[in-house]
Amino acid sequence: MERIIKNILKLKNIVKTFPGVVANDYINLQVKRGSIHALLGENGAGKSTLMNILAGLYASDSGEIYINNKKARINGPKDSINLGIGMVHQHYKLVDTLKVAENIIIGLPEQKWMINNRVLFDKIASLSKKYNLLVRPNALVSDLSIGEKQRVEIIKMLYRNVEILILDEPTSVLAPQECQNLFKTLREMKGQGKTIIFISHKLNEVMDIADMITVLRNGKVIKTMKKTDTEPRKLARMMVGKEIESISKNILKDLKRVEPVLVAEDLRVLGDEGEIVLNNISLSIKKGEILGIAGVSGNGQKELAEALTGLRPLVNGRIFIQGKEMRSLKPINFINNGISHIPADRIGVGIIPDFNCIENVILRIYKKKPIKKGLMLDFKKASEIGNQLLNRYDVRMSSSYMPVKLLSGGNIQKLILARELSCNSQLIIAMHPTYGLDVSVLNKVHKFLLKEQENGVAILLISEDLGEILTLSDEISVMYKGELTSKRSRKYCTIENIGYAMMGIDKEIKEEKL
């Protein structure tokens, strides 16, 4: 009789590098059959990269994968699927214009050429029932809610008889009830002998659902342990590493009598699909204050930044800058009133990829003297001032005339900062300013922002990175599903009470008993 192998999956010394960064640094991992195994870590820790290698989308630089103690050769997604591995990605791989049933069977070799809806629907229905995954086979994917889309992705994998199901940040966009439904499904799958790998950065959920937990940080495995052998505080410390390093920051003077730079009243904004993404949001920022808005992305942050810079129309609401109401909501008016914007989409919106560094860095000041000379651009002055800016903000490039798209992500961000922080703004709206940047650049960016604060500039910091929010902010607010909690002073905020608000469990940031 065959021995049932304990470890269905073994990863040995997996290494994966991208230019300038080691995403996976000799990772060793063992996953028991029939368990729910969580990969826990912050953004950029290397969790998704590792699983993408397992799913056949990336090729590892070195290392080995063993399935049921047999060495596996994974050269592409087809190989993974044949080995019984299926991955549900963070950004769902579903074709929006096709129906649910069509998405489930697409690419399946066993599928006959003519699609028989009845047979298909029956099989989907039975899977639905078995695993508590309610889906509508005839609906168009573009009409589904995010929770439904996730269920379709899972059924898609089950239809292909996966044994190992990988879920990448499955709960980041789910409501609490949908989370519980998902967990019910996962437990049912575990009962049927399936193995589940659960990638997440959310401590409490991991503590809820996982049997085994592996913490990753900076591409390395910190520790693997049973859930019962640990608790959230220990996990948090392992995830973040050292104590949150406090960059020396001037304690804010009493700002009670200072006029707010920006006041937004009852903003109601629609998203790209016509749904409400900002639901009567109000906020105000004083001169010299850093207001940090924490929250998982997808809760309306991008749309908030766009609404406050004229890139997205308001259905309702008013915006006041220095007490003056903004009647015309065009981007140029916000710019002329001293609002700078460091956008979320660095490359798509933040730069002009084919233009050179000088042309990009002067984008906020080319209409002012001395670069503007009558109807013309004074290129000599532009070069002079541009180079000054690029140097001041430490932008590394081989020539300031090279196309900016060839710069590394960190340098592109520094260029955007050079541009946005040097035009005498009153308010800087910074969205995810250090997303995807390594630690040295990250610290530089923070230093630049703090310097602006010293000069009296107000900063609206919108970020997923709690560490960043806690490091820089004077006041903190949390955004959840289009609603904003009230501000709370940094003194009273911790990872826990902010975290609960981020998860929507608390409607406001609770008072922490110190």
Partner: protein, 367 residues
């Protein structure tokens, strides 16, 4: 395994090589096709091309064709820099010619300079308006300007035929043409014993001027930004709709000026055939020149030589449509060769393990 990666810098030298090779290969293919059809092209090619490019009267004729070709190429370039396709240059050319003809036939008694200025204004207004009409469906309803400009070619073609056969027909002949213009409506000749007229100066000035505006003025800078990244331009505060309208109107007006210059400088009447396919040639020239106004003058010169050569070839028994074939082939090869300038093809083997580990260690140190 063939690996394709983006090049760090686009090499101009590669672009020039690609251009030269494209022309040579296109010529080769054309010769093969002609031989297949039992013509004897090589001798004719040599005679014709040397006459066109190496003799003074050939050179001057080329410059005459360069006027409409360069302006029409600009008509493609300006909207392209703003991110729009103006493929219907042919239609805008004729609209300009129609405007000029209308004025010339209606006011034959005005003094020369005034009459010609009026003709220019009429041509610019008509063609500019036409360009505006072609871009509105795109801005307001999302209907591609490719379709509106392309279909407009046929519409305007029929309009010209109507004018030439009915409204403005020349009562003296049955030929498809309007009466000849009075002398006041004709542009004076720049170089005696040739057909090169004063329009040449205007054309060159416009090419240099537009190049200057695009590169050095704020208007040009914002226009180019709109074309390079519309979302980024919007984020920088630019009104992208304004540049959509302006770029098409200016482009169409340039083509219209070409039309005016052609009827008042070369043909002296309106006919349905005054454009020897200038519209599509302009498209080819604009692309091969990589949308650079200066390059348009040189490459435009080469192509105008081709046009002139085409006529001469026809007189020597070769079908003139070989020129169309050449144009199409050259552009196709240039486009095909563009991948060589933007991407680098390399042969990649599986790297040895030790190399990879060295790479990792290097990356770790720099972190």
């Amino acid at each position: 395994m063939i690996k394709i990666e983006s090049r760090r810098t686009t090499q101009i030298s590669t672009a020039i090589w690609v251009g030269i090779l494209s022309v040579l290969i296109s010529l080769l293919i054309s010769i093969i096709v002609l031989q297949f059809m039992h013509y004897h092209p090589i001798k004719i090619f040599l005679t014709v091309f040397s006459k066109t490019y190496l003799r003074l009267d050939g050179i001057l004729e080329n410059l005459v064709s360069l006027i409409p070709l360069s302006l029409c190429s600009l008509a493609v370039v300006v909207p392209a820099k703003a991110g729009f396709w103006n493929i219907g240059v042919e239609a805008q050319f004729y609209m300009g010619a129609i405007g000029a003809t209308g004025i010339a036939l209606a006011f034959p008694n005005l003094p020369g300079l005034f009459l010609i200025s009026l003709m220019l204004v009429a041509g610019i207004l008509l063609s500019g308006l036409f360009g505006f009409i072609c871009i509105i469906p795109k801005i307001k309803w999302g209907v591609s300007e490719i379709l509106t400009t392309l279909l407009s070619i046929f519409i305007v073609n029929y309009f010209v035929k109507y004018l030439v056969y009915y409204a403005w027909e020349d009562p003296k002949t049955v030929a498809a043409q309007t009466p000849e213009f009075v002398n006041a409506a004709k542009l004076p000749i720049l170089i005696p014993d040739s057909r090169l007229h004063y329009g040449f100066i205007l054309a060159v000035l416009l090419v240099l001027g537009i190049g200057f505006i695009l590169k050095r003025t704020i208007f040009g800078y914002e226009l180019r930004l709109t074309g390079a990244n519309p979302r980024g331009a919007e984020y920088a505060g630019i009104d992208i709709k304004k540049y959509a309208y302006f770029s098409m109107i200016i482009g169409a007006a340039l083509a219209g000026i070409a039309g005016v210059l052609e009827v008042s400088g070369v043909v002296f009447r309106l006919q349905p055939t005054i454009s020897a396919d200038y519209g599509f040639s302009a498209f080819v020239i604009a692309w091969v020149s990589r949308l650079s106004p200066i390059a348009i003058l040189f490459i435009g010169y080469l192509f105008s030589g081709l046009e002139v050569a085409g006529f001469k070839m026809q007189m020597m028994g070769l079908p003139s449509s070989i020129v169309a074939m050449l144009k199409g082939l050259i552009l196709l090869f240039v486009l095909a060769g563009e991948t060589l300038t933007f991407y680098k093809f390399s042969w990649v083997r599986e790297k040895k393990k030790s190399e990879k580990i060295k790479k990792i260690e290097k990356a770790q140190i720099s972190n």
